[in-house]
Amino acid sequence: MHDADPRAQIVSLLPRLRRFACGLTHDPPLADDLVQAACLKALERWDQWQAGTSLASWMFRIVQTTWIDDYRSRQRRPEDTPIEDLPDAVGEDGRELVERRSELRAVRQAIAALPDDQRAVLMLVTVDGLSYQETAEALGIPMGTVMSRLSRARIRLANQLGHAGGRHGLG
């Protein structure tokens, strides 16, 4: 259902925006600051959103540009990032949980180590599930660029995780 109030539409997108911002910032409290700043910016420029186009793509773009313009320069160094503040998935226990925690931690660290532009594409396509076309619109880049950035990010991630886990290597 679409609510006429833009604030309600934005509130419904908050979980996805937070996840994207978490990927960009690898710092959950900073991610919430970023999402809040982006939402307020979006409401100020609401007249620029074209009804009928994807609000999610438009919002992702504002999060991304706010990150680059206002936040990235103030970013903490990667070695200081408290990415492990991320809550762990609930409902599991024992050895599996420990293994999974350390594995997922390794994944988040590998994603955090990617260049910014590759990380944004990976978060939108692989994590959020946007199409290449939607991602191109969200980030304001050509589709070919989405594909090349995504390839580099995915190859790097697969290689790092493949080596770390010692499985599925090409040999």
């Binding site: 609510d3 109030d5 090349s148």
Partner: protein, 259 residues
């Protein structure tokens, strides 16, 4: 077809045509190295998704939701829900109020279709003790702070039906009283077995104190709720309550209830 990483990734992302998929799958059946690489790429993508799943599972911080709701409504946006008391001098007759509560506040002017103005805002799930009347019911003197109901009272414009935990709540109207700013709220459990009407007044430190609360099972709803309305009105009159109009209310929401 070249079996490079980019092609395997496009395949995993569903970006290849049916014909290309078919050719790729035939090649993979005879190329264990490429199949292994595909597996590696798929597994890393799956891990990337799962690595951020906890963010999707946790509730959105109420402060973040509140910040969005406190933002001024864009001027060019669709008309905000119009409502009641501002146009009617003082709070309207019991029957009118009841009717509007039942429908989640249709516009007084009738210019906007009721369905269009009843917005449902989903707040993060905040566990209620249980959905029974006992677990749900507010009592006079209770202080509400930090839960979904408090966020709704802090941030939601009157006339909205809001999903909270095991039920829904609609802020009916806002009043300025001798006790400060107070809001009347109507709640019901999601199974509609229990409903209540309450008046809460805002205290310091983002808390709301219950000054009137009366609930009951659905069976006695119609009779009980009109009597409930009368008793709520009596409490409001005793507090010297004056209903606030849209603009005054919006200003308060934007300023987080500071005068």
């Amino acid at each position: 077809m070249v079996l490079d990483d980019a092609t395997l990734i496009a395949y995993l992302d569903g970006q290849l045509s049916d014909a290309e998929c078919h050719r790729l799958e035939e090649r993979l059946a005879h190329d264990s190295v490429a199949a292994g690489r595909l597996d590696q790429l798929a597994r890393s993508a799956d891990l990337a998704r799962r690595a951020f799943e906890p963010v999707m599972q946790e509730p959105v911080p109420p402060d973040l939701i509140a910040a969005v709701w406190r933002a001024p409504l864009p001027a060019s946006g669709a008309p905000s829900p119009r409502r009641r008391a501002a146009n009617s001098g003082f709070w309207p007759r019991v029957g009118e109020r009841l009717e509007r509560m039942r429908w989640g506040w249709g516009g007084m002017a009738g210019a906007v279709a009721i369905a269009a103005v009843v917005a449902v805002l989903v707040l993060p799930y905040v566990p209620e003790p249980n959905a029974s009347a006992d677990g749900w019911a507010l009592r006079t003197g209770d202080v509400v702070r930090g839960d979904a109901l408090a966020v709704a009272l802090d941030t939601a414009p009157s006339g909205r039906s809001i999903t909270i935990g095991e039920g829904t709540a609609a802020v009916v109207a806002t009043f300025e009283t001798r006790e400060g700013f107070c809001r009347e709220v109507s709640r019901q459990t999601s199974d509609r077995a229990f409903s209540e009407l309450a008046i809460l007044c805002r205290g310091d430190q983002e808390s709301w104190r219950v000054v009137f609360a009366e609930g009951g099972a659905k069976a006695s709803y119609v009779t009980a709720s009109s009597q409930r309305q009368d008793r709520a009105d009596a409490v409001l009159e005793a507090l010297g309550a004056v209903p606030l109009g849209d603009s005054a209310e919006n200003e308060l929401l934007a300023k987080a209830w500071r005068r």
